[in-house]
Amino acid sequence: MSSRSLSQLAIFGLLLIGGVGLAIRHSGRVADRTALEDSLWRLTYDVQFKATGDRTEVRLALPSDSDHVAIETENSTNPMLSERMVRLRPSGTRELVVSTSQQDNYRVTAEFVARLRPRGGWGEPPLQNLSGDTEAKYLSEERTIFPTRNADVLALLRRAESETTSDGGKLQWIFDHCSRDLKHAADNSNDSVLGALRDGSATPLGRARLMVTLCRAAKFPARLVTGFELRQQEQLQPHTWVEVFRDARWLPFDPVYGHARRLPNEFVAARRDGEEIVRTPKSAIAEEIVSKYSIVRLGPPDSVLDRTENHPSQVFDLTRLPVEMHEVLALLLLLPFGALITAFFRNIVGIPTLGTFAPALFAVSFVYADGTSGLLILAVVIIAGLAGRVLVGRLQLLMVPRLSIILTTIILCVVFSVSALDYLNLTPSANAVLLPLVIVTVLIERFYVTTEEDGVGFAMQLVAGTIGVGAVCYMVLSWETIGHIILVYPETHLITVALFIAIGRYAGYRLVELWRFRDLVKTD
């Protein structure tokens, strides 16, 4: 197999393995996080009733899914009773219909496990517009509950219309009025709309009813929604809020807690278009209904909680290492990116540098030290090193001792500049001494020899290239997010290697050659 197709195969293989590795790790992390952050709630209905007639029926509204809540299991085992599930139109409410033909006291229990996802959710998708019948239903007057044609209601609506003209403004006025302007009424007082209007105070249910009444009177389709707020409670009261149909969506409004257009995630709707969870039809009426609700928070599965236990696969998880090691590891892992940048500049752009990896190493040491003291000390080092080289040059020494003298000079300079900076209260970072001093020594020697042999111009060209490439490396490597990401996803470097192979097989022109050979283009 030719080296070219072998390289292509290697690139393909590395990209594939790297991509799959990234995908597996990422999905594993997301799954772990959601498993830890999602919460599971067990909601229990406990309904007692007395059957006195030939046929008795109770209907339980079941909690429904939303973009944040998923009902994972539903259980109701009531051996004495016949059960069936119906879905009501047009509200979409699911009901468990429990019926019996024998007279007795009965007890119905139903259990649900709901998963609450704090992160998920793109909002509900838009619906089609309501059909004529449906719209009429949600605009209709229900004399005892929603007296839309009552004079007081209409007077209130006229007040709203006098203060605002747009539909949106009117809806907001209604919401504000129901949630803010009414006083809080005692729990046992009147729930009715007219009572609320008369007293200027309302129960929670009264507020919701008033809002639906006003909306319907203003020709906004509206309905009551009854559901639960997921939080640990032994005795739980269902909560009723309002939904108004606007812009092809049912927008929730909670005049009791003040939420508008979007409810907090933990609200679960059960019955839409109604204010009771349990109801009984007039035709098969059950008596003495007592309903109790409770919610228990469940823990995440053991497999997730045990994740921190020892397992050989943890070797591949670098984030598990002590936090103090993270910075060093991240820098090490960043070094290949520095090399990638250098390879790119050398082989594709065509900028020569002093030493192959010098720019990347400089960049890394600058990331590790802090920029200012690093630059200051590097400047001192270079000046001292070059001065030392010129002086040592006169002694005419052999190479290794000569380099060692320069290295010693540089180290003394670093140590005393750190001390001097400290004396001046500039407190340099101790990491500044981590500058690649041996590399600096060799570079100074190379620079010196290059100036002698190839001229100052060429040497300066190399220095400029080194500084330029090093600056680009520094900009990339000092980006903390990249360091964090590479620590979490070290398999990214399989892709880096693939890029190295691609650069290594790049046979096209270097960018500087487009300039260098520009005059050789034949013009016909």
Binding site: Q396, D454, G455, F458, A507, L514, F517, D519, L520, K522
Partner: protein, 318 residues
């Protein structure tokens, strides 16, 4: 209107070889790494040349230990002028030319006097590897100083002109004459300001002329024309280059000659990574010529068929 760059497709259409393709398609493919010492070490190159009757400057002496350096004055006592160079130096680094010496004083062609301890220091730096690739321990070669052939006198300033021939699979594909100038400090390196002229492979006559990418017609120091110089013993030079290429067993090499007044063309060194500036000097791309040679079966790359192929590639792209 002067242009600032050329599009890659334009360069490709003009047959210009880029450095990446040179490395991948020619050097990596044709030059086995294990043969590099043959060209990187001039002592080995020289012995290969001598074994194949290829003329090289006569070697006076070799030093590879610091302790031996003391013998140097004795070695050159009877020799007026000579060249000191590292066996593994690149691009003319570490070369010292001595035109004459009187007692302890060694005098360079430009008239600068050096004391013995300065020369000894230079010998030591060579041995300790300052000029060698990778800084390895090196060897000093003391050899005959080339006296430039009179044909090139008019364009030789401060140094020795040299001829670079690039061969692919044993066939010379492009050649140039490099002329030192005052600006280049007597060295024949193009990026230091030396002048290059193209050489017609068939006739050995120079044409064109270029200095730092600019077209020049005359030598900036002597104001003599650069074009139209007839290189002496041209066929002999090409023959030596082909023999050396065969002996080195490397597919893509550059061979550097100097033309001695007495011995004619002698090999200075061979290079396994010859640069691409020769295209600028010739004002033509080398790529089509290389591909022309590549397309030939092996038996056409021997004997007289070579000369026909040289004549053919000599005019490609012109």
């Amino acid at each position: 209107m002067p242009r600032w760059f050329a599009w890659p497709s334009e360069l490709k259409d003009s047959g210009i070889l880029g450095i990446n393709r040179r490395n991948l398609s020619y050097i990596l493919e044709s030059n086995p790494r294990r043969l590099y010492p043959r060209v990187d070490n001039k002592l080995i190159t020289k012995s290969i040349c001598e074994a194949n009757d290829i003329p090289v400057p006569e070697t006076y002496g070799v030093f590879d230990k610091h302790g031996e350096v003391g013998r140097f004055p004795e070695l050159v006592r009877e020799i007026t002028d000579f060249v000191i160079k590292p066996a593994c130096g690149a691009a003319g680094r570490g070369v010292m030319v001595i035109a004459e010496h009187v007692g302890d004083i060694y005098i360079s062609p430009s008239g600068r006097g050096l004391r013995w301890n300065e020369v000894r220091y230079h010998l030591s730096t060579i041995i300790s590897g300052l000029h060698s690739l990778g800084g390895k321990m090196d060897t000093v070669i003391v050899e005959r100083r080339i006296v430039t052939h009179p044909a090139l006198d008019s364009v030789s300033v401060g140094g020795t002109p040299d001829v670079r021939v690039i061969l692919y699979r044993g066939i010379p594909v492009m050649a140039m004459l490099r002329l030192p100038t005052h600006a280049s400090g007597g060295r024949a390196n193009l990026h230091q300001g030396a002048i290059a002229a193209a050489i017609d492979l068939s006739s050995g006559q120079t044409y064109g002329g270029v200095c730092s990418n600019r077209i020049v017609d005359e030598h900036p120091d002597t104001h003599q024309p650069i074009a139209g110089i007839e290189l002496p013993n041209w066929r002999h030079l090409l023959d030596s280059a082909m023999k050396l290429s065969d002996a080195l067993e490397m597919g893509y090499i550059g061979v550097d000659f100097v033309i001695d007044a007495q011995k004619g063309p002698v090999v200075l060194e061979a290079n396994a990574r010859p640069g691409l500036a020769i295209q600028v000097a010739n004002r033509v791309g080398i790529w089509p010529r290389l591909e022309r040679v590549r397309s030939n079966p092996d038996h056409l790359l021997k004997g007289d068929a070579r000369w026909r192929l040289i004549d053919e590639v000599a005019n490609m792209g012109l």
